[in-house]
Amino acid sequence: MGQKNLATTIKEITRNHLENCNGLLLGQSISAVGWVNNTVPDCKGIVELPMTDVAGAGIAVGTAIVGRRPIFVIRFQDFLILNGSQLIFYAAKVKELHNQPAPIFIRAIGTEGIGPCHSGNLHNIFMHFPGFNVFAPITSKEYEQTWDAFMNDNKPMMCSEHRDTFTNCEEIEDILVEDAEITVCAISVTRLEAQQAVKTLHGENVKCSFVNIFKLKPFSLKEEIVDIIKSSKHILVVDTGHEISGAAQAIAYEIGKKINKFVHILGVEDKTKCICEPYQNRYPDSEKIITKINNIIKGDYTCQKE
């Protein structure tokens, strides 16, 4: 038997929470079409929210206020625009304002390849507002760490998931190379692509480092990684969301501040995602990451669409 995949880990954590810890899981159409990509167990504590997301989020937050530590499932991150009001303006604020926590675990699921509808990646918005922890786990171990962080804290946890990682069985290690030509720091599912890109470039004798970023807020870097990044000629941050005011930009700024260097970013273009090629505007894949890296190395920083 190989390692269990991420979906199974999520399901197991959820089952334990619902069956043994008086937890709740709330969301819309939970039992429909494969129980949220096979991440939700069929057990007690599941609550359907058949309504506008604004109200559903408020109900979930209400259960958090009274200590049920709800898991709130958002099948597509685009819905966060509706859910957001209750999460941002209430759940995330009440601890600081009133010392009355509303610990809610928000499973916000990103997806790709479905065109203009439901394919946004919006974790950056939740990094912007005070009061959230924002993690983007794509491995089983990271998910367990995310859950433990939630259970040991009273802040709402924005858990930015990506559908394309649910079958992932691997843990993903950093690749740290001193004096690299470039260090690629990647977020969420783009980590799988960046890892691939770096491996390909190694094959072409380009010295690259690869750094996993899974805790977006609070954001920190281990000293050894800071040293690697410092010794690297260029740095690139890759994310699933839009580049403009996105997570990559925010983290590039944080890294740049630490090492006093310009940091490049790559994300989704400032255009609507569409259904057919060439307008899909998907999250950066390994090919796109390689092109970007080659251009950075060549000194051509401006090109957006190679």
């Binding site: 609550v47 309504m51 109200a55 989020a57 109900i59 206020i65 209750q86 303006f89 010392n99």
Partner: protein, 304 residues
Amino acid sequence: MRLSNFGVLEEAINNIDNTIKLNIYKKMYRSRKFEEGVIESVECKQIKSAVYLSIGQESIAAAIIEALGNKHYVFTQHRCHSTFLSLGGNILKIRDELLGLPTGSSNGKGGSNCLQIHENGINMFGHHGFIGENLPQAVGACFGSNKPTLCFLGDGAIEEDYIYPSIGFAVTHKLPIIIICEDNDLSILTKTEDRRSWDVSEVMKSFGIPSVNMADDPWSIYEKISGLFANTDGPIFLNIKTCRIKWHAGIGADKMHEWDRFSIVKEELLSLGLGSQLTVIEEEVNKEMDIVWDKKTLQQLLKK
């Protein structure tokens, strides 16, 4: 035309014990006097942040909390001073919150429309500025705890889209929640007739919720709520027509209110021969307010 006797139960005042009547009067008088102190403090710029005054609407919280006690989860709207005081919230904490002091109910961080109480077995949750947001939260808290819950909101808030699905959820899950619409006919300064043609109570009927639509006569509210509660196992809705005497925010007045329930109640109690009891209550409350709003104390507090 809105009338002060709309839907009122004529006999209610006679059915209620004098002790209860006087308790309700005391809650109303205390809220009124407290807010008169607020007005003075705003005038002399000791309170600098916006205040949302309950003046004119005091009978609603007074009657409901007299009838139900203070053991519910309570979710208030932004206009919540009278609810805070009727529930038995610490009067110095509300004063200090309005003054922006660390000794306030939220350490001075929230202000008039974000008051909370979480002590002495009372749980009143602070509002955060999105009108009606407290209803889904109240429904969730009620669902998550199965504890009786009260939710106050305004006639403007009740027009928000998240209200009705939350009520639907409360009906579906038979939640013990009482939803109270403090219907002052105003959303900021826009009258209901300029906003909508439909009636909230009619919508509630379609949900199958026991609902009441009447003016803010505290005796009727007291009697209705006691009776209704005994006979249902799901949500209850009260639309209480009332008058906001002061501005939406701030201490000014447009003199648009059709009645002042406080004056009506006082007249009623006087005509029942309860004058000497009212005097005792008033003297006691006045003494309390002299201490709460003592100018020198306030100056010292604000200097710190």
